[in-house]
């Protein structure tokens, strides 16, 4: 029993660490998809931001400059996706896949030019853990929740903010309407394109923050393909959370917890390959209607052309 109690804090802490990049990316993706643009490119947006954040931080010697680079990279890739899908009416799935391939290939190319080798960057500045006075002394949960790095605290603020923006502001109402019925948004005199650009851009920036957490929060370096499918797990969390920021957060926490349990107790018990399948299998079950159907925004995936 005492042993079990001793496990609570490390398990909770591991859950937060694992879930942070997923939550940021999944909550951001809600904005893109609610505006009517499917974002298969999350993996690429995370990956390129993890890379840009590491390289920016390395050359400036400051992790905060890295943060700026990461957000910018996420934004640029999101704008490419929006330009293709919204303005040029390209297929959203094809564009997203292209974004992923581009983000997979570009870091190797750039690393070879600036560092002379591929694979992994040199050690880059990272975020140190900041222990919040008082709160971090709450039994069990305190050290897990409030002895984390800056990105985690930013995330704590962004989750309620995302909920507020999406459901309590006129911007959120317009964004959601754009994904459900672009025609009526258009008739109301609001630009469908602009709302979709906003949605995709928010998704890109948040995926950028999520990606940055990998190279400067969990590690102090970028390695090729370091996202390893986390962008797709974030996509899974968003669907699991039914296109809702709180739902997406809870789903990402569940996946993070499963990963924490698997890394702590999984060895020799459940093969790691099987525990890694959990988010994907759960998503398939949700889509198959186990526990009610998941219904995406009505106009998702279709370019809107004004007639």
């Amino acid at each position: 029993m005492a042993d079990f109690v001793g496990q609570i804090t490390p398990l909770l802490s591991g859950t937060i660490s694992n879930a942070t990049p997923l939550i940021l990316t999944a909550v951001g993706a809600v904005f893109s998809e609610r505006s009517g643009v499917m974002n298969i490119g999350l993996e690429g947006m995370m990956l390129i931001s993890a890379f840009a954040g590491a390289v920016g931080g390395y050359f400036a010697g400051s992790v905060w400059v890295g943060l700026l680079f990461a957000l910018l990279a996420g934004l640029v890739f999101a704008l490419i996706h929006a330009l293709m899908c919204v303005t040029f009416e390209a297929d959203q799935i094809i564009s997203g896949t292209a974004i992923n391939l581009l983000a997979l290939a570009a870091p190797g190319f750039i690393m070879l030019i600036i560092f002379g080798h591929k694979g992994t960057t040199p050690t880059v500045p990272n975020f140190n853990n900041l222990s919040i006075p008082l709160l971090s002394r709450i039994p069990f949960a305190g050290p897990a929740l409030f002895d984390q790095d800056a990105i985690v605290y930013i995330m704590y603020l962004l989750i309620p903010l995302a909920y507020f923006v999406l459901f309590k502001t006129s911007f959120g109402l317009r964004l959601r309407a754009t994904g459900e019925s672009p025609e009526s948004v258009d008739v109301a005199g609001i630009s469908v394109s602009r709302m979709r650009y906003y949605g995709v851009a928010i998704s890109g920036v948040m995926a950028g923050l999520g990606g940055l957490y990998l190279s400067t929060g969990l590690l102090s370096a970028f390695t090729e393909n370091m996202t390893g499918g986390r962008g797709f797990i974030a996509l899974a969390a968003m669907i699991f959370g039914r296109w809702h920021p709180i739902g997406a957060t809870l789903a990402a926490l569940l996946f993070g917890f499963a990963e924490a349990v698997a890394t702590r107790y999984g060895q020799g018990f459940v093969p790691v390959e099987f525990s890694q399948m959990i988010p994907y299998v759960l998503t398939i079950l949700v889509l198959a209607g186990v526990g009610g159907r998941a219904i995406p925004p009505a106009a998702i995936g279709r370019p809107y052309r004004k007639e």
């Binding site: 293709m84 303005t87 391939l101 997979l104 030019i113 890694q276 994907y280 299998v281 198959a288």
Partner: protein, 365 residues
């Protein structure tokens, strides 16, 4: 009508047809090459020299041609894996996982019960076909039975398939060698020889697969049904076709092609399934299919282009210090542009594009 008039209209139809088929791929390729040249120039290299080396490395010698063939072979199959469901109006993003299922099937059989020789090669390919068919049927069934969106389920199944294949390769079928993964298979596809390096009869299998896909789509009732469902689900349903069955079959057939691609990688190119297993072929197959406008002949050409880019990039890196990842950057940019209707409108004018594409406006990209 005069004979000249008939020939004239035929030539015109052919011209319009070719423009319609080639316009988007050519615009995408040209733009990607231009952007690639700018990137090369930005790194302080000469774009002409880089592309020259790339071309030389892709087609300049017998080993270069062989390398292009080896690269193109699995891409033909993953391209078909995307194209056939697409004809039935579905996106198969699961080519990667399906390819892994084929690879592990070939490695498992090839290292256990199989002997050597062409009969075992055939049996292994058929086993991949069957495994891929069953694996591909899963998202089809989930769509048909529960309405689960195939884009999401195939993406999720990629990771399930890859993890499953890795577990099988490292545990039940582990070769216990210095390299993690399975041991070497006993049945191998023979090399062509003639200085073509590792080019093997897997390329022939890929060509046969493309022919089979063509015959399936345009010469069988099933193919007609799939295309009818793709064009107009309502009309197909009204005509008494089963949407659920054709949805499932289209995805299953797609999965079968990708899995054969994975099998050929194992019994042709690598001889085993190592962990990690080099791929991304499933995703590049989407680009191949898009370039080939989801037609088997176009897919063969698209696969040759991508295969050449990847093969030539090695020579380019060697000759000019431009990293070979440039090839993958160019492939990604091609894919980014290849469905961008608005971009082509912008480049050549909306009216002219409408005129060029006049006639039936199909739903194919």
């Amino acid at each position: 009508m005069s004979a000249a008039g008939v020939t004239g209209s035929f030539a015109r139809r052919l011209l319009v047809g070719s423009i319609r088929a080639l316009l988007f791929p050519v615009v995408a390729i040209v733009l990607a090459l231009v952007i690639g040249a700018i990137i090369v120039a930005a790194t302080g290299n000469n774009p002409a020299a880089a592309y020259g080396a790339l071309l030389d490395g892709a087609f300049g010698s017998a080993p270069a041609v062989g390398r292009t063939l080896v690269n193109a072979t699995p891409l033909v199959l993953t391209g078909l894996a995307f194209a056939i469901p697409f004809r039935a109006s579905m996106f198969n993003i699961g080519g990667e996982g399906q390819l892994f299922i084929g690879a592990i099937t070939a490695a498992a059989l090839g290292t256990t019960v199989a002997g050597s020789g062409v009969v075992w090669v055939a049996i292994i390919i058929l086993a991949c076909l069957a495994a891929g068919f069953l694996w591909g049927a899963i998202p089809g069934l989930l769509k048909a039975r529960f309405g689960a969106h195939e884009v999401i389920t195939t993406i999720m199944l990629n990771y399930v398939g890859i993890n499953l294949a890795y577990w099988l390769a490292q545990h039940p079928f582990s070769g216990h060698g210095t390299v993690p993964g399975t041991g070497f298979v006993s049945a191998r596809l023979a090399y062509f020889g003639g200085g073509l390096g590792q080019a093997n009869y897997g390329s022939l299998v890929a060509i046969l697969a493309a022919v089979a896909a063509y015959l399936l789509l345009w010469r069988t009732t099933l193919g007609y049904t799939l295309r009818a469902v793709g064009h107009s689900p309502e009309a197909a349903r009204y005509a008494g076709m089963s949407l659920g069955l054709s949805t499932t079959l289209a995805m299953a057939i797609g999965g079968a092609f990708a899995a054969v691609g994975g099998g050929i990688e194992v019994i042709g190119t690598f001889g085993s399934m190592s962990v990690p297993f080099v791929s991304n072929l499933g995703f590049n197959g989407i680009g191949v299919a898009m370039l080939g406008r989801n037609h088997p002949a176009g897919i063969v050409l698209g696969a040759l282009l991508l295969g050449a880019l990847q093969g030539g990039a090695q020579q380019m890196q060697f000759a000019t210090q431009v990293p070979l990842d440039l090839a993958n950057v160019i492939i990604a940019i091609i894919l980014l542009f290849v469905t961008a209707v608005g971009l082509v409108e912008l480049l050549i004018g909306r009216k002219r594009l409408r005129a060029m594409l006049s006639g039936r406006r199909g739903k194919e990209a």
